[in-house]
Point group: C2
């Protein structure tokens, strides 16, 4: 939804008239744009107004070294960043760099990815051009609804000009009855070059989708010519049976029926490495039986690492471990890109080559929630940029906790101690440094051993802050009914509870009491968020102990990101209403003991959009 | 060009004001539509007004038994016939049954063909949907410019509704740099069924085109599913080297650089037979060196018969003989179709299954002639329907004339006498019967042995007539400079000379003196037409003699069709100006003797369009 900027400015009076010290009215009765500021984040990526769709089309411009972050926006719009902290709209009022309505894309421009030095050496966008509807895995596929086309930017990314020709991938493989065929993601990979005897630096692309009655797939393609006109079909290099799961499903949800927004990249312990371990991130779509046409009940944002091999001439990706990239039900459609050490941002921070991903956080539950969007005049955001790399967990006791089909794999075993490997995901170093560089205060550590909440001694000044803490649990906690964590955005009226729960090894965000507005207004989700995190038994100084839970909780007004142990994230909306709902509290429930340490609150976050006027 | 019908009616006064007994003015100075009647044919297929493009999309409606004849017309329009003589527009004012402007065909609808019982058992059009320009074999191919799409008629052919989906053949074979990829022609064939182990009755399609730097091709496809959604790529079942020719090029021109409008069908001595000999008709495009972008100097309407085989898994068509379907430089883009014995027309005439083709006669030399089209308000026509079958020439002396790579093949040889096989092509029996059923007169036979013209004793009443005659030549004529035939549309001011010329075994239409208007007005072509016809040596009662030349000359005002010996045709425009240019004359030139026999003139032709008002 693209709204004129006048709609924002014209609503200032209405915005100021709202009383955040009283119970809210039914918000859908308010004036348009009057809620613009109410839940607006500061440090996150989102357009000046309107609906943000999937992140995509990121790249580093070889000419400027600036990183371009893109997102769907009735077409696509984007911004540049030289530090992964502040962003600058590519076009005035956040306008689009590509619009639908051409011969290839009369209906929509869907996700794409960019070859930084493509046609004419210019940034070249490979995107899904949409001609027909409906498109969803739950209904019959309309032939030709999704094709893959090219556009080139000759003006530093402000506009991408479509080639005056038809799509470069005009259809799925012959007679394959796909559930979807979109979101081409380009990448380079030395392992594939070697297996396929490709010229070094050859580009590949995965297109996301699946096959009716068979299950989700990544369709692999190889660049065929220097003009990127032809992409050689290499088949479904990854396919999973319909609605199957990784292991018992505890650690990586379901593969579902259809993949979307697949990324493929290779990383090592440091970051991006063309010769590193191959990972993919995917959005998986599924529903409970009976499947209702046009309804996808679940969307899960997953990752998998895999072995790449060649069998009977065909290249195959076989997962070795898999997990959630973000466990939030509204967190989906992550799009990442190699960020080279030569980029301006990395030059400044001294970072090596990295793979940076942005996860989308839908603001209206994929369009299904009856959220008062006209009143807010924007919806959705991108989560903070994350660095993905290979993570290692050292000195893990070699017990049954390790030997499960999980979001980790055993890297080495020796005399009762193992080292595990997983996907490391952390907030991008520049963003995290900026988030934690402002005013801060430390809350004294403490040990709680009975159910209850204990308010912090100090209340943060605003709903913009970061909480970091380490929670330690005694050995006996495993299998207990212990829950421990924090209440945030709290007041006498409201609170959001974030806690680790041993009974199902999960981090929960309890939003039952998050928002007074949820009691008056439709579309303000108060369902729990939850995600699995196993705290392993570690050997420390010869003693077995439960891994410490290291939490980083980013509160950006209504957006809450919970990061744990460099390998877990759950993000969601927590739309507190009252101005006073800023308190933080220690939280304990059930039997057992928890020790809170290193509890720090960083105030204020940062303004990611210094160019934008209020 | 689609002009409103008012433009025709409003010009009646101007039409009547022209004096055809005086020398013409520059016709391009006349009022629009004032020349509407001047050269309008009676018995030929053409729209009520405007520009007719390629014939195509013919079929017999299984529900009515009517034969539908179609043609491009800013989209496509058509008519039905129950006798191959008279036609009835499908839509008022000759309106279209399909228009361009959809998502698949924003620019144009190009040629297609019809599966009579296709989707939902309804007539299903498989056509080329055009999205991008330029399209020509002389320039780089724009990817996606030509795709193949489906449309279905639920109202007896008055409208074909496009499927709400993308093309069913969205691109040429992978990475093939085609010169063209259009005009899908559907057919069934028992030989292909057997070679490819297809279900009986499987549909095939050839798509016409070629490969840059390699030459012209027919791309073969096979129906993959009952809904005609997928067409399996079977490769270039026929390919010829660029600008090569059949034999020395004397008998079938050049294969050129690009094929268009390919038809594939199988016939025997009687007519259409799914198990008969496989023939193809093609339009071949080529130019002299240096090739000028956007200019195709030559278009030739050819046929070939061939052997169908399977080599290394791929089906191949290998020509055994080839020739011109029509030698006229303006005759092109033939489109044929099986006409079953069960059709109304065939039921009435008692004809067996036939293959009927309509050749296009461009009125402005493929848009390059500066013809006064606005003054005429129509341009182009289809030639009379022709029946194609296997033809045999019996008792041919087995001399060097036979053993050449020509438009015939040796079917059998025994003791000095051979039987030759070729493509038999004759005016459809119903049309020929109707043309020759009216008032007629016989001109006394005669022998001429010196150069000169001899007027017929009787002058036909109009410029609408048929002349039939048999010309016999003594043995010594072969290799001489003898030319013999007729002058038609003649007067003191004008004449068109049609003759056989032994020196190069050709039938010539000399238009040097055809039209007084050519002297005042651009775009009235006065170049000669010519086509090769070998009169073989036949053994008759033990004597060798030159085969008799049997001519059927149809004069339909400005359209002249010259048919000879059931295997030759050359058609063109002869735009005589004077009302008196109706005389017919015997023509002799050079040394030698010719005997004219069976000379009959049939007056009046017939009105093919009884429903149309003047």
């Amino acid at each position: 939804m693209k709204l004129p900027s006048a709609a924002v400015a014209g609503s200032l009076a209405a915005r100021q008239a709202i009383d955040y010290n009283s119970a809210p009215p039914n918000l859908s009765t308010l004036a348009n744009a009057s809620l613009f500021d109410t839940w607006r984040p500061r440090a996150h990526v989102l357009p000046p107004f309107g609906h943000i769709g999937d992140p995509c089309m990121h790249y580093t411009d070889p000419e400027t070294g600036l990183f371009h972050v893109g997102w769907l926006y009735s077409g696509a719009a984007g911004a540049t960043t030289d530090d992964l902290v502040t962003y600058h709209d590519l076009n005035p009022n956040g306008g689009q760099f590509i619009l639908p309505g051409g011969k290839n894309d009369p209906l929509f421009v869907f996700d794409g990815s960019v070859i930084p030095s493509g046609i004419d050496g210019k940034p070249t966008l490979f995107y899904t051009s949409v001609s027909y509807l409906p498109i969803q895995w739950t209904v019959a596929y309309v032939r030709g609804s999704e094709t893959q086309s090219l556009a080139v930017s000759y003006d530093s990314g402000r506009n991408f000009t479509k080639l005056e020709q038809g799509p470069v991938i005009p259809s799925p493989p012959f007679a394959v009855n796909v559930t979807g065929f979109r979101d081409p993601f380009v990448f380079q990979n030395n392992q594939l070059d070697a297996l396929l005897d490709s010229a070094p630096g050859t580009w590949y692309a995965v297109i996301s989708g699946g096959v009716h009655g068979e299950g989700p797939s990544e369709f692999l393609y190889r660049q065929h010519d220097p003009d990127f006109q032809y992409w050689e079909e290499l088949g479904q290099w990854w396919h999973e049976p319909a609605n199957s799961s990784w292991g018992n499903g505890d650690w990586a949800g379901r593969w579902g029926y259809n993949f979307e927004v697949a990324n493929v990249f290779s990383v090592d312990d440091e970051g991006y490495n063309n010769e590193g371990e191959v990972f993919t991130t995917i959005g998986a779509e599924w529903s409970l039986d009976p499947i209702v046409p046009q309804v996808s009940d679940f969307r899960e944002m997953l990752w998998a690492a895999g072995k790449v091999s060649r069998e009977n001439g065909q290249v195959k990706f076989t997962p070795t471990m898999a997990g959630y990239l973000d466990c939030g039900k509204s967190a989906y459609a992550a799009a990442g890109k190699e960020l080279p050490a030569s980029s301006v941002a990395s030059q400044k921070s001294g970072a090596p080559d990295r793979f940076i991903t942005y996860v989308w956080l839908t603001g209206d539950f994929y369009g299904t929630a009856n959220f008062p969007t006209p009143q807010q005049n924007w919806t959705g955001a991108l989560l903070l940029p994350r660095e993905l790399s290979v993570g290692n967990i050292h000195d893990v006791v070699n017990n049954e906790l390790v030997h499960e089909t999980g979001s980790w794999r055993v890297a080495s075993e020796c005399s009762g101690v193992t080292e595990l490997t997983t996907l490391k995901q952390v907030i991008a170093r520049e963003a995290l440094a900026a988030l934690t560089s402002g005013k801060s205060f430390t809350e004294a550590g403490r040990k709680l051993d009975s159910a209850g909440v204990v308010p912090f001694e100090r209340v943060p000044e605003s709903k913009f802050h970061v909480i970091t803490a380490s929670l330690s649990f005694p050995k006996g906690s495993r299998g207990s009914d212990l829950r421990a964590g924090f209440q945030i955005l709290s007041s006498e009226h409201e609170s959001t509870t974030i806690y680790y729960q041993f009974s199902n090894e999960s981090i929960i965000i309890d939003r039952t009491n998050t928002s007074a507005a949820a009691r008056t207004t439709d579309g303000i989700d108060s369902r729990n968020e939850a995600g699995p995190l196993r705290l392993f038994d570690l050997l420390r100084d010869g003693e077995e102990q439960i891994e410490t839970l290291d939490l980083t909780i980013v509160v950006d007004n209504s957006i809450v990101e919970v990061h744990a142990n460099d390998r877990f994230a759950v993000s969601t909306w927590a739309r507190s209403w009252y101005a006073g709902s800023r308190e933080i509290r220690f939280f304990h429930d059930g039997e057992g003991e928890v020790t809170f340490g290193n509890v720090t609150v960083y105030e204020g976050l940062y303004d990611a959009w210094p160019d934008r006027s209020a």
